[in-house]
Amino acid sequence: MRQVYLDHSATTPMRKEVLESMLPFLSEAYGNASSVHRWGREARIAVEEAREKIAELIGASANEIYFTSGGTESDNIAILGTAKAKENKGKHIITSSIEHHAVLDSCIELEKRGFEITYVPVDSDGIVNPEDVRKALREDTILVTIMLANNEVGTIQPIKEIAEITKEAGVALHTDAVQAAGSLKLDVNDLGVDMLTISAHKFYGPKGIGILYVKRGPRPKPLVYGGNQEKKVRPGTESVANIVGMAKALELAVLEMDEVNERLTKLRNMLIEGVESSIPDVILNGHREKRLPNNANISFLFIEGESLILSLDALGVAVSSGSACTSGSLDPSHVLMNMGMDHQQAHGSLRMTLGRGTSEEDIEYVLEKLPNIVDRLRAMSPLYNKVKE
């Protein structure tokens, strides 16, 4: 049976070149980068070379790159660490209503600690209006944190415009670029951000490693303590192999970006248009153009997402959904609900995210299988019946 992995926004397979770059540091080159001897120096050189490479790829300086365990930790440091550093200046933070939980839950934690959070809305296309950010700014605002691209619907946020507003107001801007990295060009100066989060496993690198870029100037306070690594912002022995692998993965992603994006955009459009032309009562979620090239998020009315996932899984196809039944809670995706969808549309959503290994045959296979699956589930659905009556 054909195996079609269309869940690249969850994670990506690590590239062979990345694995090869890491292997020496998982075996003979095992030194601790903080040690003075040859073993230590060897590891230190690898870490600093990776830092410089990553810095160059995102238009930053090496001393502005902090290695972390991944996107969640970087977001936490950016938000909780900035709050710690600036709480004497103010206790107000602005974010959006469609952020990843790494950002939202950090903000909710700060609310418990006496901070006020403004959650700016998005329109029905899943995009923040920069003017809403401007209106939300206050004297005591210490941070704005808005994602670069959404992880569920792939919508790209107007970060440059938001950066102009925050710069004018003198407020720090953080962007969670976890889902954007590898798909969009990241240049911190062009974007105008003060902090930026990325995670290696979203662009064919290893899991458990990410960076927080922090523009030269005031730094967020650490959340953990223990050593001098990463200028005490994130102490702990450097994960040398992961750091080397992340640099390699980002280098390859940037190198191949235009070519891959062009191909994936075509395949993604073929998928969306194929579904729209072969299955009635479907809705594309998120802006049709202002979205990541690999993202298709479609709601199939009258049926529920988990049933769709498992039906596709049985045919070798991996996808995900914003349905409550897949989240472990009773609530469907906050992203879809905050875009103004009703429960049925959110429960019936399917996220299909393509990757560099996706072929035209893969998309044809999905388009061949989906109509029957949808028909079968709709035939069972009391909602479909009600409509037909």
Binding site: S307, A314, A379, M380, S381, L383
Partner: protein, 121 residues
Amino acid sequence: MYTEKVMDHFTSPRNVGELENADAVGEVGNVNCGDIMRMYLKIDENEVIEDIKFKTFGCAAAIATSSVMTELAKGKTIDEALKITKKDISDELGGLPSAKIHCSILATEALEEAVKNYREK
């Protein structure tokens, strides 16, 4: 996460569909929580459930519990069928993930609702 039996009832559900001239229909759940079950009963003069069909909007567990409920209830008297518990359904499926126990409760409630509809007639 699901047992083979759940997957079997999900991929080949028993008694799915509607009953024309049903003696009773019961529907529970709502779209907000992501599950809706509707049961159709055909009941003979001795109050035996002659035939039963279901339609369900929901996850694999919701579809599987509906399917098992129809199997368990078919051929029983109404009173016997009302004694089917969420545990009977879960046991029949070889167990359910804890987050999906509510689906087995929904299946018992759907039958209760159908019986209520019958008795009100």
